[in-house]
């Protein structure tokens, strides 16, 4: 069973995963897995190579775990968190630990091995977002989970599979980064009685210099204090704390904002690995007024050096205004 351990100074939880227990020799330079669609467990026709699906959107009349789907969700075959068992919280002297219970699923974004979010039809992207939403609403019924994240690692060196996919992770704790955002947003709300994210959106919409794209319901911009070159944030213009409350027509504008942002990135930096992470409110109504869900999109351009690790203080060689201008002008 993987274990969750808490850093006594920083209050940061870490997953210690002894089942992946690696020896020193396991870290020799990374091997690249051959890209053979016949062997890819995510390709249509290879459904038997994955754990049974938890959700799929498929042609009526086709059977679960068989061909005929266009979006498919499966449990991760080497999950970092496991849904069974008790959390068994315990203290070991001054240290705190618990079992790493949780949900770790993968969303296979297309039956086709080479389709990406950028190259897919807008309808397909919309279906992927529907799948996120539907799984979140389902997993949320279990009160053990405090928080959900949707994460995508795309490209060489970032992901272990080339077939386009993303992860859904539900955790029994609120991750540190989210805790920090909640604290900052709560403090601002107590002082101003306004949502900090709503104020940022207003200011970005007005100033325009960091704006990349906007539609009826969403804006894409480069954050004022971007940590990384070409970092982008995708946010609903209207105040909404839970991503999973997104409505029908809003799903379409989110799909279009997400796809446009990724296509613009692709146009400027072809083939660049990237990550995106969807931050949504923890499963409690107490954050409803001041938390505002959003997506952080980070191209992996710079090597993170000791300075950044040790200090949490980043050096960004591309001012966000320059990045936004180039992204705005990129034709997609």
């Amino acid at each position: 069973m993987p274990q969750l351990r808490k850093d006594p100074v920083l209050k940061q939880w870490v997953i210690i995963s002894p089942e992946r227990g690696k020896r020193p020799s396991d870290f020799k330079r990374s091997e690249v897995t051959p890209d053979d669609p016949h062997k890819c467990p995510f390709c249509e026709g290879n459904e038997a190579k994955t754990p049974p699906e938890t959700l799929s959107f498929r042609t009526s009349g086709t059977l679960a775990n068989h061909k005929g789907w266009w979006v498919r969700v499966i449990p991760d075959s080497s999950p970092i968190l496991k849904p069974d068992g008790d959390s068994d919280r315990e203290g070991i002297g001054m240290f705190d630990a618990m079992n790493s219970i949780g949900v770790h699923e993968m969303v296979i974004e297309s039956p086709n091995h080479t389709t990406t979010i950028q190259s897919a039809s807008i309808e397909q992207v919309r279906e992927v977002i529907w799948a996120y939403k539907q799984r979140l609403l389902e997993i949320k019924k279990n009160p053990r989970y405090k928080h959900f994240m949707i994460v995508k690692n795309s490209g060489e060196g970032v992901s272990s599979f080339t077939h386009s996919h993303s992860h859904i992770v539900a955790t029994p704790i609120i991750p540190k980064r989210i805790e920090e955002e909640l604290e900052g947003a709560r403090e601002y709300y107590h002082y101003h009685d306004r949502c900090l994210f709503c104020d940022i959106i207003k200011q970005e919409t007005k100033e325009q210099s960091r704006l990349v794209f906007e539609n009826d319901n969403f804006i894409v911009y480069c954050p004022f204090a971007s940590r990384f070159p070409f970092e982008m944030e995708i946010t609903p213009r209207f105040h909404q704390s839970f991503f999973e409350m997104l409505e029908n027509n809003q799903v379409h504008s989110f799909a279009s904002a997400l796809q446009t942002a990724l296509r613009k990135l692709e146009a400027l930096l072809p083939g660049q690995p990237y990550n995106f992470v969807l931050h949504t409110s923890p499963c409690s109504d107490s954050y409803r007024d001041f938390y505002h869900w959003h997506v952080e999109l980070i191209p992996k351009l710079t090597k993170i050096a000791g300075f950044e690790w040790g200090s949490g203080f980043y050096i960004n060689p591309t001012p966000p205004e320059d990045a936004a201008r180039m992204l705005r002008e990129a034709k997609v």
Partner: protein, 331 residues
């Protein structure tokens, strides 16, 4: 002038570089390591680098000439600039200031091929003495609130030059990670009236299962909630908040444990890329009761993916007890 900007949500400060602004094309050029005969850090090439701030050198040799054993120069491409005022300003919800600070390079040895795999204890002592000399000098500048000393070893760990070196950055703000540590330690102190780090060290020494090495003054161990495989901390057994206050006998003890610990890591993991960062107390904060300086060493073995970025929640595939066992058995 570089700019310091504060993220309004997480309160993290970021340095934005304007002069050396990079465009998409700059990120696609593969980095080739520079050849030794062109290395600006090698003896005889002193004129290729900015004039030195200080050096440990043979008597009768001149500054900016060969004959040095450790040499400090300003970074040629500094992230922060030494001249100027902070000019703090706010624009709507955002806060910013000028990127004022010091950014120096400590050239650890005249030998291009040297490193912690073969440094003598005496050489490590000179390097550490240089760190403390620069630290003490810079903390007198009232503009600076934090002094960060770190090493990037290997290009995967962020080093742009092969010649062994470490860096020092003095900043007008307290970096986020340091602030969190100070706050965490303060909370614990208010609750227990003990230093959290002293308690950790006591517990580690008594359980022993995560200890990697120890001498009279210092202990090296794998932290209970290690974020990275083979993450290692070195801490003084006696309570002291600032790295800038260590005396010569402590520097000797530190040189010894750094040599032993880094050699174990280098042998066990076959010369991995790594970083180390000295965590010390902020310059003008009164945290001498509850902060405890230490060094964090992070071998760069795994790629940090989106999950870690987005959550600040790390996945470590090697339990620290196991890592400690591998290291303690390494000669």
């Amino acid at each position: 002038m570089p700019q310091l900007r504060k993220d309004p949500v997480t309160k993290r400060w970021v340095i934005i570089l304007h002069e050396q602004a990079k465009s998409p094309a700059d990120f696609q050029i593969p980095q080739t390591p520079r050849q030794s005969n062109k290395c600006p850090f090698c003896p005889g090439h002193e004129d290729m680098a900015p004039p030195e701030v200080m050096s440990y050198r043979a008597p009768d040799t001149l500054p900016n000439q060969p004959g040095w054993e450790v040499r400090v120069i300003p970074n040629k491409f500094p992230a922060l600039q030494i001249e100027g005022d902070l000019d703090r300003t706010g624009i709507g919800v955002y806060d910013m200031m000028n990127g004022v600070g010091a950014h120096e390079v400590i050239i650890e040895s005249p030998d291009h091929e040297a490193g912690f795999h073969n440094y003598s204890v005496e050489q490590i002592y000179r390097i550490l003495r240089t760190y403390t000399d620069r630290y003490r000098d810079l903390r007198r500048d009232r503009r600076f609130r934090y002094i960060l000393i770190f090493k990037n070893n290997g290009s995967a760990a962020g080093a742009s030059l092969d010649h062994p070196h470490s860096q020092l950055i003095a900043t007008p703000i307290i970096p986020k990670r340091a602030m969190e540590e100070v706050e965490g330690a303060k909370r614990y102190y208010y609750y227990k009236e003990r230093c959290v780090f002293c308690d950790i060290i006591r517990q580690e020494l008594s359980s022993g299962e995560r200890i990697i090495h120890e001498n009279e003054q210092f202990v090296a161990f794998a932290p209970f909630a290690s974020r990275f495989p083979f993450e290692t901390w070195i801490a003084p057994k006696d309570h002291k908040d600032s790295f800038g206050d260590i005396d010569n006998s402590e520097i000797e003890g530190l040189a010894g444990i750094m040599q032993a610990t880094l050699q174990k890591l280098i042998k066990t993991l076959h010369n991995p890329p790594f970083n180390y960062v000295i965590h010390t107390s902020p310059c003008d904060e009164h945290c001498s009761d509850y902060f405890h300086w230490h060094i964090e060493i992070m071998p760069r073995l795994t790629k940090v993916a989106g999950f870690e970025w987005g959550s600040g929640f790390y996945i470590n595939p090697v339990a620290p007890e196991r890592a400690a066992r591998f290291l303690i058995n390494q000669e």
